[in-house]
């Protein structure tokens, strides 16, 4: 629908105004992260008097024993990167054998993965915690309050959608390619890792983006698996613990929020096309 020139100018102004409105919350975080404690209370909307204040705030954040921001960042990175690596590789492997094996077992397992996507997290969260405790008591492997326990849980919760996405993509790859490699003497795992997995790159990007944004921002699963007051905290956990402490230091909270947002925003600006495509695919599943 093409609009006339005059109308187009009005629409441009309207959209620009809405754009500024959408951006305003980011502006509030940004400017207040650069203010002193007194200024946050007296001058919320304006620009900071002294941008250099951010250095003081930054030092305060790094030195804060309640927040432990540096350690939380390291943990968030470890948990996100490890979870993504195993989700992508293991889901691709599972999806590949599910597509290439045509029998009742493969069909019912795939159906189970798809059906489980309607189970909301809230239904399994309470029994999950006590089940993880039961595992520790019977086998001796600590699942709660550990990195590996949380990463394992992310594999379990993240694999359904990932397998579903890989499954759809692999169906479109001609099987002749793989058969030729088998004739040339390549083993089945060799076929997957040398030929199939590299071909999956476009959908792997989607899988990494979808799971990455989810895991980086996730709050409830780390809260249950890692607990509060644990040495291992992710950024969202650390921030919620810090905000919940008795005096709200908004200038530090704003800087911590800003630091939590910056990595995803940078990723978004670089990989916008993939992110939007991936998230729409994820929604329409």
């Amino acid at each position: 629908m093409k609009a006339k020139r005059g109308i187009l100018i009005i629409l441009e102004c309207l959209t620009a105004l809405l754009f500024l409105l959408f951006f305003a919350p980011f502006y509030i975080v940004l400017v207040n992260a650069f203010k002193s404690r007194v200024e946050v209370l007296t001058n919320v909307l304006g620009l900071p008097h002294d941008w250099g204040q951010v250095v003081t705030n930054f030092k305060a954040i790094l030195g804060n024993g309640n927040l432990r921001f540096l350690s939380a960042t390291v943990n968030s990175v470890i948990i996100t990167v490890c979870s993504l690596a195993i989700i992508a590789v293991f889901s691709a492997m599972a999806a590949w054998v599910l597509v290439r094996t045509k029998n009742r077992a493969s069909q019912s397992i795939f159906a189970l993965y798809v059906a489980a996507m309607v189970i909301p997290f809230q239904v399994v969260m309470l029994p999950l915690v006590s089940w993880m405790r039961i595992i520790y008591e019977t086998v001796g492997i600590p699942m709660l309050r550990t990195h590996h326990g949380l990463i394992f849980a992310y594999l379990g919760f993240g694999c359904s959608l990932s397998i579903f996405l890989y499954h759809g993509f692999i169906k479109g790859i001609p099987v002749e390619l793989e058969q030729a490699a088998v004739v040339d003497g390549c083993s089945k795992p060799g076929v997957f890792f040398r030929i199939v997995f590299p071909l999956l790159k476009p959908i792997t990007v989607t899988v990494l983006v979808l799971n990455g944004i989810w895991i980086w921002n996730d709050y409830l699963l780390p809260l249950l698996m890692l607990g509060t007051g644990n040495a291992i905290q992710t950024i969202p956990l650390a921030i919620s613990g810090f905000v919940g402490s008795f005096v709200k230091q908004w200038e530090l909270i704003m800087l911590a929020l800003l630091l939590a947002i910056v990595p995803v925003v940078i990723l978004y600006l670089f990989a916008q096309k993939y992110i939007i495509k991936g998230m729409i695919e994820g929604a329409i599943k």
Binding site: F22, P25, P127, S130, W131, P236, Y268
Partner: protein
């Protein structure tokens, strides 16, 4: 024979890592959860678990806080669905015009979706409690001087506003994709025949993007139903209000109510019974969606 044994080994070997994790963190807890909801389970280690039939469900049905939270969540999900989709569709109509900076606008509208629910809840808590009152003072608008989070009704709309900000850009992208699929020549032909902007929108564009409306509506409905992170960081249920003669948390959505039942009130089994009811409602919504999709496929 050797060949088929190898195939089977590879099949199960490749499947085991995800299947094992999946069964351990979803299937077993899910089955345990159904069982626990019929027991006096306390969630603590070593405590005996006794079967008590429907007692938890009966208690939940007489729980005023749960009834309030359930009604609140239904209202919240429906209003959020309507507002998010309206805003998103409006934005999609705007950014599909030939605007000079339309790519920048799309990027900007989508951006809030990158921020985690917990983080954006804190951002908006600060906006409602500090930024908007200051803006009100500067503009002389007294209605802004009081935080929207202080009263039950305004806090409800405060949550709707935050969700709209978070999801509108995302849903907008789904509508943009759908709008780009509407054939231009059809619209031009209608324009030549004298159809105005509204007529073309009403009789050509809207029917053609109906599937996108279904997808987006259910997506936002289900997501709003499950909302937890932003609820915790924005209000954590506050303020308290009166409902059927009892004090309830006026902005406590279902997911938060379940969490608090289990962890603040240590009534894990009752929390689990609530979670099962929550699950049944969500499955019903999903089944309605599948049914509607099937019916449309038949029609086409």
């Amino acid at each position: 024979m050797r060949k088929s044994l190898q195939d089977r080994l590879v099949f199960w070997g490749f499947l085991i890592p995800t299947l094992f994790a999946f069964v351990m963190v979803i299937i077993i807890p899910f089955v345990l959860g159904i069982y626990y909801s019929f027991t006096n389970w306390k969630g603590a280690a070593g405590a005996a678990i006794n079967f008590i039939g429907l007692a938890n469900y009966r208690a939940v049905l007489h729980d005023t806080r749960f009834f309030y939270s359930f009604s609140l969540t239904a209202a919240y999900a429906l209003v959020a669905m309507a507002v998010i989709n309206l805003v998103a569709f409006g934005l999609a109509l705007l950014v599909t015009q030939e605007l000079k900076l339309r790519n920048l606008y799309r990027t900007g509208f989508f951006l809030p979706n990158m921020v985690g629910g917990l983080v954006l809840g804190y951002i908006w808590q600060f906006i409602y409690n500090a930024a908007l009152p200051e803006l009100g003072k500067a503009l002389g608008a007294s209605f802004l001087s009081r935080s929207m989070l202080a009263a039950p009704r305004s806090a409800f709309f405060a949550m709707i506003m935050v969700s709209s900000w978070q999801y509108a850009g995302y849903i907008m992208m789904i509508y943009v994709a759908a709008l780009q699929g509407v054939p231009q020549d059809l619209l031009e032909a209608a324009a030549i025949d004298g159809a105005g902007w509204w007529q073309r929108l009403r009789h050509i564009t809207l029917p053609m993007i109906a599937p996108a409306f279904t997808v987006s509506s259910f997506f936002t409905l289900v997501n709003s139903f499950k909302m937890f992170d932003t609820n915790v960081s924005l209000t954590n249920g506050a303020p308290i209000t009166e409902f059927m003669g009892e004090s309830v948390f006026s902005t406590e959505l279902l997911a938060l109510n379940i969490y608090k039942t289990a962890y603040s009130f240590n009534d894990t089994a009752q929390g689990q019974a609530k979670a099962i009811i929550f699950f049944v409602v969500l499955v019903t919504i999903s089944l309605i969606q599948v049914f509607l999709n099937k019916r449309r496929e038949v029609e086409m």
